[in-house]
Amino acid sequence: MDQSGFANLKPRLVLTGITKRYPSVVANEDVSLSVRPGEIHAVLGENGAGKSTLMKIIYGVTKPDAGTIMWNGQYETITAPSQARRMGIGMVFQHFSLFETLTVWENIALALDEPVPTAKLAAQITEVSEKYGLPIDPYRLVHSMSVGERQRVEIVRCLLQEPKLLIMDEPTSVLTPQAVLILFKTLRRLAAEGCSILYISHKLDEIRALCDTASVLRGGRISGGAIPKNETNESLARLMIGGELAECHLIPREAKEVRLDVEHLTLQSPDPFGTSLKDISLTVRSGEILGIAGVSGNGQKELMTALSGERLSSGSMIKLLGRPVGNLNPAQRRALGLTFVPEERLGRGAVPPMTLAYNALLTGARKGMVQTGLIHPTVMKTFSKNVIERFKVKCGGDQSVASSLSGGNLQKFIVGRETMLAPKMMIVAQPTWGVDVGAAQLIRQALIDLRDQGVALLVISEELDELFTISDRLSVIAAGRLSPSVKPAETSIEQIGVWMSGKFGDRAGEGAAPAPPRMETANAPA
């Protein structure tokens, strides 16, 4: 799609002077932007910059305090999502709005304004989902689906309604690189058919690859507009964060003794729709980061709970510091020097209504915060203040409640907490999911610093760029099986992408994937 292709078209959507204030924050101030038919328009900004609020205003979820919306040349007041849908606006939310106890088709049926017979709807779902390379089973229950799969439901739900304007809120974080390419193809095709797309993201590469135009939000205001193709990542990041972006560097170093040793871990998932772990073997040594890539829902959750101790396993399949820990609970494993950062921050990694000080106590009890069963408030507060300071957590202090922090800041706090517990082995799931670039760099650097101090780290992530940046070795999890590990320098995004679809040929002759490089060779040069 060329800029000139729609330059003379009448705008489909024009926002003028949109302002939205919340009790504690101004989410949008005097925001104006316009999108023409067939245009893919990026809305770029850090977490908390007001992107999601702006999109919710367009979708009729939130009412602006001031400003106007013009749709196809007519001023409109969009009071409800159903109205937005009738107008032809579809939205894929960042935080999914699905009912967990219902099936895929039921969820989709709920969003339809006209009832459609089940069989017909299911067929439509299958058809659309396959057409756009997002296969889903219409009869599956949502609660059993992974984050990635849930997002497919959201996307398909929108596509079924043949929208004129599609709002995509951070859609690619749960897709393989190949799937991202397919999605981009889909989006470009939609755009070519005349559908306008508002594409919210903080992934600069994607925006440069996909979008025709961009509006950058910072602190609720438009800080600039750009033609992404003519910009560099650096120039876009400057607009977005108002400063330079720090780079993180991984200086190769020799890994030492084995800290985590998993041998032939096979674990049936208790959830009928979950992924069972099949014969997983891996080692993580002191002073190295093992990255595990994979599309969400391929056993990451199960691997994480098996390693953390939230799910017990028998025998000596899992060894921590040389000790079999399969039957130890999370507290006992933590006592051995394991810390972990879960994927869900609010509700698992942190207790939402509790203060940061008490959230430090959640896992920090052994750091002198509890003495003879009593909580030691000064130790607890000092610890949490240190975390806040060292990890630049933006908050009102250690008495702020966890739920009042933005996702990125809460993640900084959780990573900081687990880091400052001085672990020997640390497991991190999705370290920077939904975290803005500035915070993401800080978190990645913190993980690298830990590695340099001799901690063994296992990082499960869906962001390949991230894994390529911070991993000493890289494996892929697909359908509950783990690929051999490989040095990032000796592989490519494409290769990993092929592995992510399950083709890593651990048996000769299986799949088209080339034989992966082995660790023996990877260890030689340092």
Partner: protein
């Protein structure tokens, strides 16, 4: 137009004010109700809320009724904080009374100094044993503790009824379903002369402080609260869910059992078919009014106790039906739950959205 809007952060002011709002709401409704019944509301209020407190004896009665409400409320509040929905404090109270009363009957008229400590201990253990049943069933078979604790209330009451009709019936009691009266050493001593209030209230107040320390200062209390607020976070941190359930139920069993023995070894002085006018259930309201906070529960228990006394006083003084007590309890809980909404929400006046200025322009353009 008014609209409910989620607050940026839960209002701490509102969480304190809400019980007061609820009390005022209850009073206003009561006022209207008395008026509608053709009773002089001022006199009714006087009978209900002032007269019971106008004598030392009345104050004593207030404290006397506060004791079981406070004890049960404390245990329930600790459990509710951990998402353990024990609604069977009444049954645990009854079982405490049976166990402690059994010990008292065994001692008979003995003057032993061991009698009272052993009775109290038996009461505590009896309540705990009764609470252990739902704890076991929940942790072992994942049963719902709400149903199990509630059903166990009726079993405990029927067990007591069987005992006082059968094996423990006083042979000289003219066939009344009650046991022999407890001996002097088996009856709690009076705290304030001229009243019926016993040392039970002192135990209860001390336990309120202990419960406060437990909830606010100990790691075990913290673990229970995390389990209540975010079960996944508790699992992630490695806090045992089963341990929390056991602790929550056993604590409440202990305090409710103590309440039971304090009743039968105190004002009642024997085992009989009816030993509680629903203290264990009213304590659920007490726990909520007290914001699940042990010190708050003290005030909640005092208020609830006053409702019991006021209800009795109004029955006697104005011939109002006995349902008046339950009615006021219900009003209180109703208004409390309503007012609690405003802890996380607030009303906002929405000026009819100023139709965007350009709308006019559209009009002129079209």
């Amino acid at each position: 137009m008014l609209r409910l809007e989620r607050r940026a952060a839960p209002s701490s002011v509102m969480s304190v004010v809400s019980p007061l709002v609820a009390a005022v709401g209850m009073l206003v409704t009561g006022f209207l109700l008395f008026s509608a019944l053709g009773k002089d509301p001022v006199e009714a209020f006087y009978l209900f809320f002032i007269k019971p407190l106008s004598t030392t004896y009345g104050i004593g009665e207030l404290l006397l009724k506060t004791t079981p409400l406070l004890l049960c409320g404390l245990g329930l509040a600790l459990g509710f904080r951990a998402n353990v929905w024990n609604i069977g404090a009444e049954g645990q109270l009854t079982m405490g009374a049976i166990a402690g009363g059994g010990v008292a009957l065994w001692f008979g008229d003995s003057d032993s100094n061991f009698a009272m400590p052993l009775m109290l201990l038996a009461g505590v253990l009896g309540g705990m044993a009764w609470a252990a049943i739902p704890a076991f069933l929940r942790t072992r078979f994942n049963t719902n503790e709400i149903l199990v604790t509630l059903m166990l209330v009726y079993i405990a009451q029927l067990a007591l009824s069987w005992l006082v009709h059968g094996p423990w019936r006083d042979p000289e009691g003219q066939n009344y379903p009650q046991s022999q009266g407890f001996g002097d050493a088996e009856t709690m001593s009076i705290l304030i002369d001229g009243t019926r209030v016993t040392w039970g209230i002192v135990y209860a107040l001390v336990l309120a402080v202990v419960a406060w320390v437990f909830a606010q200062k100990t790691f075990a209390g913290f673990r229970m609260q995390v389990a209540g607020l975010a079960p996944a976070a508790a699992a992630y941190a490695g806090f045992s869910e089963k341990r929390n359930i056991w602790i929550a139920l056993l604590l409440c069993g202990a305090t409710a059992g103590l309440a039971g023995i304090c009743e039968v070894a105190g004002p009642i002085g024997r085992l009989q078919q009816q030993i509680s006018p629903g203290y264990g259930f009213a304590a659920i309201i007490v726990a909520w009014i007290g914001r699940l906070h042990p010190i708050g529960v003290v005030f909640g228990a005092l208020l609830m106790s006053l409702l019991y006394l006021g209800g009795e006083s109004a029955q006697m003084g104005m011939g109002l039906p006995s349902a008046i007590t339950g009615l006021f309890q219900g009003l209180l809980l109703f208004y409390l739950l309503a007012a609690d909404l405003f802890i996380t929400f607030r009303l906002k006046r929405v000026v009819d959205a100023p139709e965007p200025k350009p709308a006019a322009r559209v009009g002129s353009a079209a």
